[in-house]
């Protein structure tokens, strides 16, 4: 794994404990590696500030890197730098760029113009609604409005009107000519091409029923449940039966290593069909990478104290 990818995964908490420790040792010993790690951290914060990360990844970045006061200060610095660099709050012109051989403006190249036009066509076909009015054309009002909404994105249809009449046709008609490319904002920037909205996929989570032991004091854990998360799984649910417990709510704590709290959640039991109460611990599959964990369930005992009522070890593998 390249260093950049390694430190990125380290910062996002995606490495196993042994690998994390190796990275940490190297960070202490290797100044260049350490600087790279801080640089990647700054890039992650900037991407989060710009809204360039997927929601789950953004949440993870903010939680891991920007929840402390120092982290929030770094995030604010990243945001401020991005704003100043983009000229959004600039009151004076940007200083002359570094001396380098100037190339022709990107948008002057025909290939780039066609790429921009194609990107805009895709953008028109895949997103939003708007109304165009052609004042010189009395026979036709070209109206683009959303068709029946599908599971993802909206389709456009052009309704042709005859004078005074009902719409002649509602069959979808593609745009005839692509709009001209926008004027160049900056010679050295490439216009971002927006991809069409992908249809939403109904993703059902993969469910694992954990048969954790009901703990008695001093009882040793002997059983390790193996969980294999199929490739491509997005969400998983861990179900824990609490039929014989009395609590109205529980704390589920997933530990990694000796004492490292990896994930935790406060849950209320749910019931379904004839099934007794059980807990549903819902999390993205990426939040439970391969490795061994201990799962503890805490509830309130009869005398009102918090106690561990169930416990078990699980071994998570990926694939299949």
């Amino acid at each position: 794994m390249r260093d950049h990818e390694l430190v990125r995964r380290f910062l996002l908490g995606e490495l196993r404990e042994t690998k994390t420790e190796r990275v940490e040792k190297r960070l202490l010993e290797d100044d260049v590696f350490f600087d790279l790690c801080e640089a990647v951290e700054a890039e992650l914060l900037e991407a989060a500030a710009r809204g360039e990360l997927a929601p789950a990844e953004r949440d993870r970045v903010l939680k891991r890197l920007a929840s402390s006061p120092q982290g929030r200060a770094r995030l604010a610095l990243a945001r401020g730098l991005a704003e100043l660099a983009d000229g959004k709050t600039r009151t004076e012109p940007l200083p002359a760029p570094l001396p380098f051989r100037r190339r022709a403006a990107l948008t002057a190249r025909p290939a780039v113009r066609w790429a921009i036009a194609a990107g805009l066509l895709v953008l028109l076909g895949g997103t939003g609604t708007w109304v165009l009015f052609h004042p010189g054309d009395g026979d036709r009002i070209v109206q683009q409005e959303p068709a029946q909404k599908t599971t993802g994105g909206e389709h456009l249809k052009i309704i042709k009107h005859k004078k005074g009449g009902a719409p002649a046709s509602t069959t979808p008609v593609e745009d005839e000519t692509p709009p001209p490319p926008p004027p160049p904002r900056d010679r050295d920037r490439i216009v971002k091409q927006t991809e069409p909205e992908k249809p939403a996929v109904d993703v059902k989570p993969v469910i694992f029923e954990l048969s954790l032991l009901t703990r008695r004091s001093g009882e040793e854990l002997t059983q390790i449940e193996k969980i294999q998360i199929p490739s491509g799984t997005e969400h998983i649910e861990l179900h824990v039966d609490v039929t014989f417990a009395d609590s109205s709510s529980y704390d589920v704590v997933v530990m990694r290593g000796d004492e490292e709290i990896f994930r935790e959640s406060h849950l209320e039991p749910t019931s379904k069909d004839d099934r007794g109460p059980f807990l549903v611990f819902d999390l993205p599959a990426s939040d439970l990478p391969a490795g061994r964990y201990r799962v503890d369930v805490y509830g309130k005992s009869a005398d009102g104290n918090q106690e561990r009522i169930k416990s078990g070890e699980i071994e998570v593998t990926e694939g299949g």
Partner: protein
């Protein structure tokens, strides 16, 4: 840490006291970050605790067999594990009671922060300021950065590090400015 313990600690880092002090600062800064990346609440305190323990052991005559860094890391890791255990117990105790939510610390307003950032940027040498602004310009700026690394004739990671060292100076300046 007593003066004798500090002397033993510095001596273990380097025979030259000035270089030893530099190493001390480097290790200290790195440990603070490692504790931060582990999600610890008081990284400076934990780092000080690490140093105190190392200094105490050295002054007691404990021989360090592994490299200095390895030894510091080992002690820091133990400190971290103790903190996690304590935090887990406290968390369970907190959830049992009805405690008022923790008040967030007051933070400087965006305007003041931006003003400090501008001032500090202007204090940088022009080539460093240009480099920093160019590096951070534009959305999805990976391509921009690759172009920049090509123009400067250095690999992308070297560019990252170079920019980061300038940014670190900026960060320190902004921190001082906000602290006034």
């Amino acid at each position: 840490m007593t003066p004798e313990e500090l002397d033993a600690l510095l001596a273990s880092l380097h025979p030259d006291r000035e270089q030893a002090a530099e190493m001390y600062e480097t290790i200290r800064r790195k440990l603070i970050r490692l504790f931060e990346w582990r999600g610890c609440e008081s990284p400076e305190d934990l780092t000080d605790e690490t140093f105190n323990r190392v200094a105490r052991r050295l002054s007691e005559g404990v021989e360090v067999r592994s490299s200095n860094f390895g030894y510091f890391y080992g002690v820091a890791h133990l400190v971290y594990k103790e903190v996690r255990r304590r935090a887990a117990r406290e968390q369970r105790a907190l959830e049992g009671g009805e405690w008022p939510p923790r008040q967030p610390e007051e933070e400087p307003e965006d305007d003041r922060r931006l003003a400090c950032l501008r001032r500090c940027l202007d204090q940088l040498p022009p080539d460093q300021k240009n480099l920093l602004l160019r590096y951070h310009q534009g959305e999805s700026n990976i391509r921009n950065r690759k172009d920049l690394s090509r123009e400067l004739g250095i690999p992308i990671n070297a560019l990252r590090i170079r920019v980061h060292r300038v940014r670190r100076k900026l960060e320190s300046c902004v921190r001082d400015c906000l602290g006034r």
